[in-house]
Symmetry: C2
Subunit: 498 residues, 2 copies
């Protein structure tokens, strides 16, 4: 009963007195992280209201991000409003009523591992056509006209998690500028944040607005992956919990595994059936494995773990050693895990089309210092720059996407962590392993042929493989393969990514 | 005499004891805001030295804004090593000494108004051909081949100050990606930092390296504008001192004015004769005026103060109010100073080609709230995001450059702060004032015609004009126009830029 009172009140959230009432309610009974769906929804609302009372930050939160697993309580016509366009809060400021939106939003807190993967997509496909919109984003005819006059492709939806972080702060503007998908590809950005980051997320949306990118047609922000991943054709999963002080790698695997299990379920429920997923949050290989295991309706082949920054760094180090410009280095493979067991492959790499070992005679350097330099690059950068490498990581995500949407140059390949399911390299199946790939530019890829593997290389590949199999055992409870058993030998987190 | 002793000592500014000596000098005779030119210059040096003594912050100042006209002390062969290529520190890490490079930097503390602008370019044009280079950047034949095979344009040099800051961290990657100058324009980045930021600057260079941008052929970093601005065709002056606690706008004008006077002299001495300069560091209009007054050999027309972010924000707010997509708003002018006296012009602006006032009937909103929203946007963003708007500022710098290197669409125009030297709008001459401009895409511009100015608009333009004339009087000692006299009525710094 109280809660219904609250919902009515909060529809008039622009006036202060409901906050006062709700503040008292909250102080008396709020327990924000209850796991019971029904109860926590009330307490959550109250929890929010306290903050409304203290400032506009949480107004933004209530307006934009609170939400519910659609399949559980929302009536079908509610699905048609899963995202709040960029202009919502501006519409509010410019006097256009935002309140109808509020009424549609009910807030629940569900711990990630309580979410059940819906058996079928939660959203009837027909409802996506009549989405609610505001301001510029109502003029869809307008976009259609633009598509025609400017011979644009039709809009694609790109979901990004950890959207308020530094990597995203670089990446989002690259996506919006057309640098990634081309100057004829209009895009919608669907940004997933956390409660804590929601205000910052609004700031990001404001900056995207002020950038006037013609190709950026929609921006929505939220904290519920079941809403934010709605119909997305790309999911760039950057957000992950940083490692806390004294946290073991196993602990990091578990805490982030929870997040990626939930996001996998959400993708399975609401994303495009052919969504391409790039996992950046560490430990990214195993996070990607967890994610794809929780998304049975999406082809496992569509999931990637980002090892492109390692590839780029490896190319740069070879160029430096050989004294050539970096664009002369090709066929660079990063094998295995995005960790210190990763294997930058100098056996198959080429400089000006010639095998690296014929150009760089210093075999000792190749076998020891080279790999070390690639792995420690992030650490050196933090020492120099005081921050982790957000900009170049964003660039490597752009590279990873473009490698899938543009044809791979003849005779070359790129590295990406993909699901092993029948590979010619003798790598264990059913893990996410970085390997050399080629693409026709259709978003799909195939494994590269003509790859040599000698004993030295095989031995190092096996070490990374063993680590990934161990990580897999640590997260068995998240991949639906029984009880976890964790026996990670050592800490293999890359310097600068701790 | 004392002061000459001081100058000699401070040439070894990297050791602490001269500061101690200068500290005593200062305590006995420093009077920082003396109006007498000759005296104030000395007292200024002392004034600075006190701060040197208290921390590295002001060491930065001494390195950025102190330097020496090469023609006075450097031997010609020193000119041949004005820049530190991207690979220098890599070379260093791989055993090649970086120190000989550092030794080439002679740094003396000379108050800017003691430095004489050289009568001729300080660098014999022939010396630029035999520059020192490292790693990939020695293979210039390589670039020439690329230019031919890839039908690239020839390399342009772009200098950026404040290169270790957040705005630059976005901007540099946009420049390197080809987003600004196009996919056929190879570039060299010449990054100006401070002693304090030099390490971070190395970090930036490392990230640029790891990004493998094929168009980015050179990166050099340095702390001496006379080296870093060498032959640059674009100078993006982003670095400026933030406003200290309790610092008056007059104080900010003076402390940043010193920097921009110095950088103007450096551009005059070593930059391309047709360098285009965009001043971003605040207060940018008056900084731009100071800069151009100290660069008599460069056309005053080539200097710009950035008001493009204000223009973009204004367009966005009009779009929101009218409920159209932002790409439908055109002919947006920001008049005057980049401060709270700026005038976003809704009289001449158009939505879908129709005057704004015919589309937005709410005149009260246009006359009051609209301008306020544009001005307060930065402040709101800081509240939300916790940081100032680095990303969208970088985007607006990109827009400002592209507006000069691509033809302006028929009937439209853009805003930029330029030197007033015969304008049809009745604006006072000899200041830097933001006005509507058009470009043929040759890097040059002309003032827009068909601009209406009614009484309401004129009155507000006059207010901004009056402010700029007052700011100009405050910095007379830096523009060579006699003694400064400061009577700024109020603080007009934009929220979010304090």
């Amino acid at each position: 009963m109280l809660s219904s009172v609250w919902i009515v009140l909060s529809c008039h959230a622009s006036r202060p007195w409901p906050y006062i009432i709700t503040l008292f309610q909250t102080l008396t009974k709020s327990t924000p992280f209850q796991s019971s769906l029904s109860l926590s929804s009330f307490s959550y609302s109250h929890f929010l209201c306290v903050f409304f009372f203290f400032g506009t930050f949480f107004m933004a939160l209530s307006k934009i991000s609170t939400s519910h697993t659609p399949s559980q309580t929302l009536k079908p016509n509610f699905y048609s409003k899963p995202c709040v366009p960029l202009q919502c809060y501006d519409a509010r400021r410019s006097g256009v009523s935002f309140e109808q939106h509020r009424k549609l939003r009910i807030s629940c807190s569900v711990a990630p591992n309580q979410v059940q993967a819906p058996v079928a997509p939660a959203v009837p496909s027909d409802t996506t056509s009549n989405r609610d919109c505001y301001g510029v984003f109502c003029t869809t005819y307008d976009l259609k006209a633009d598509e025609k006059t400017k011979s644009w492709k039709s809009l694609i939806k790109i979901a990004v998690s950890g959207a308020a972080g530094m990597i995203s702060n670089h990446l989002l503007f690259k996506l919006a500028s057309g640098e990634v998908f081309g100057p004829d590809q209009p895009i919608a950005l669907q940004l997933l944040g956390s409660e804590r980051s929601l205000q910052a997320l609004e700031g990001v949306a404001m900056e995207l607005e002020d950038s006037l990118y013609p190709l950026l047609r929609e921006v929505s922000i939220g904290i519920n992956p079941y809403e934010v991943f709605q119909d997305c054709e790309w999911a760039l999963l950057i957000g992950a919990k940083p490692r806390g002080p004294g946290m073991e790698r196993a602990g990091l695997l578990d805490i982030n595994g929870q997040i990626f299990a939930e996001q996998g379920k959400a993708l399975n429920a609401v994303a495009s059936r052919n969504v391409k997923v790039i996992v950046v949050g560490n430990p990214c290989n195993t996070n990607a494995l967890i994610c794809l295991k929780n998304a049975p309706n999406i082809p496992a082949k569509n999931f990637h773990a980002l090892t492109r920054l390692d590839e780029n760094r490896a190319k740069c180090q070879l160029a430096l050693k050989a004294g050539v410009f970096y664009d002369k280095v090709s066929n660079m493979t990063i094998w295995g895990n995005h960790s210190t067991t990763q294997v930058p492959d100098f056996l198959n790499a080429k400089i000006n089309g010639i095998p690296v070992k014929e150009v760089i005679k210093d075999t000792k350097w190749l076998e020891t210092e080279f790999t070390e330099r690639v792995q420690k690059r992030g650490g050196v950068l933090i020492q120099k720059w005081g921050r982790s490498s957000a900009a170049s990581t964003a660039v490597s995500i752009v590279d990873a996407i473009r490698s899938l949407v543009t044809p791979t140059p003849e005779g070359d390949w790129f590295s990406t962590g993909v699901y092993t399911n029948g590979n010619p390299y003798g790598i264990a199946e059913d893990i996410v392993f970085s390997m050399p790939c080629r693409s026709k530019g259709d978003g799909d890829y195939e494994l590269a042929k003509d790859v040599i593997i000698d004993d030295f290389l095989r031995e190092r590949i096996k070490k990374s493989e063993a680590e990934l199999l161990a990580e897999k055992r640590c997260v068995a409870h998240l991949t639906g393969e029984g009880n976890a058993f964790c026996d990670l030998p050592e800490d293999t987190m890359l310097p600068g990514e701790q």
